[in-house]
């Protein structure tokens, strides 16, 4: 079902907002990881670990899910479709992958926050808050998704081509 132009703009605005918000939240999370890796002050490091949990739980996860859902709605409600163009399919797969990895990473974040909340935990043993690997790669994936959205590289799938053929035949009859 193709959306009306007004609804399409609303959905597009929502999708862009939550997606860019997701990128911002990842960058904020990376700033906290940087604190845990570089700061010499124990209180600062503990605070960073503690802050990671609400950022993950209340911004990263909801924004990721919202980005995925609005993206699917946008695809299904426009001529682009979800499986007709390679750039849309690639965006979908990358978003699903990033969301799944994020959801599995929440356990690590909670673990670190719980450990930091306990005053008797030796902060030095927590080794820099899980490191830059997950959020760094996550940010890279999100930037690739942005590139795909803006450049929309050409390429129609076989399914998309079949749909095009069907539409062409319908318009000829």
């Amino acid at each position: 079902m193709i959306m009306s132009p007004r609804l399409r703009k609303l959905t597009l605005t929502s999708h862009i907002t939550v997606s860019v918000g997701w990128i911002g939240a990842v960058i904020a999370y990376l700033a906290l990881v940087a604190v845990t890796m570089t700061s010499q002050e124990e209180q600062m490091v503990r605070s960073a670990y503690l802050a990671m949990e609400p950022i993950t739980r209340f911004t990263l996860v909801p924004l990721a899910l919202a980005s995925l859902v609005t993206g699917i709605i946008m695809s299904l409600g426009t001529q682009w479709g979800l499986f007709r163009h390679y750039w849309v399919l690639a965006k979908l797969l990358l978003t699903v992958l990033a969301t799944l990895v994020l959801l599995s990473y929440t356990k690590t974040v909670s673990y670190l926050a719980d450990a930091a909340a306990d005053p008797s935990t030796d902060i030095g043993r927590l080794q820099g808050g899980g490191g830059l690997l997950h959020p760094g790669i996550g940010l890279l994936v999100l930037l690739v998704i942005v590139l795909l959205s803006v450049y929309k590289p050409k390429g129609i799938t076989r399914y998309g081509w079949r749909k095009q053929q069907e539409r062409r035949k319908e318009s000829q009859t």
């Binding site: 673990y111 808050g129 081509w161």
Partner: protein, 86 residues
């Protein structure tokens, strides 16, 4: 030399070729998946649970209780740390 009159129709009726960027991306994905399985088989990245952030065998006097935590170790399956100490 002119083109055959049906060549344009034939082009439209032929399924599209996969673009180069899709092929390159697909190769990269396959390499990453292979790398992932190689790391798992060689045991380099085996412990992927939250516990990997604590050095192994590091027993200190100060220990803190942790909540029951689920560790997923792809080599040894799922284990539950039931009220152990760091």
């Amino acid at each position: 030399m002119s083109k055959s009159p049906n060549s344009n129709d034939e082009m439209k009726n032929r399924p599209p070729i996969t673009p180069r960027w899709v092929k390159v991306a697909g190769i990269i994905v396959v390499i990453l998946i292979l790398l992932f399985f190689i790391l798992k088989l060689t045991g380099i990245g085996s412990n992927h649970g939250p516990g990997r952030h604590i050095p192994e065998g590091d027993q200190t006097e100060q220990s803190v209780p942790v909540k029951q935590t689920l560790f997923v170790n792809l080599d040894h399956g799922i284990t539950i740390d039931d009220g152990g100490h760091l």
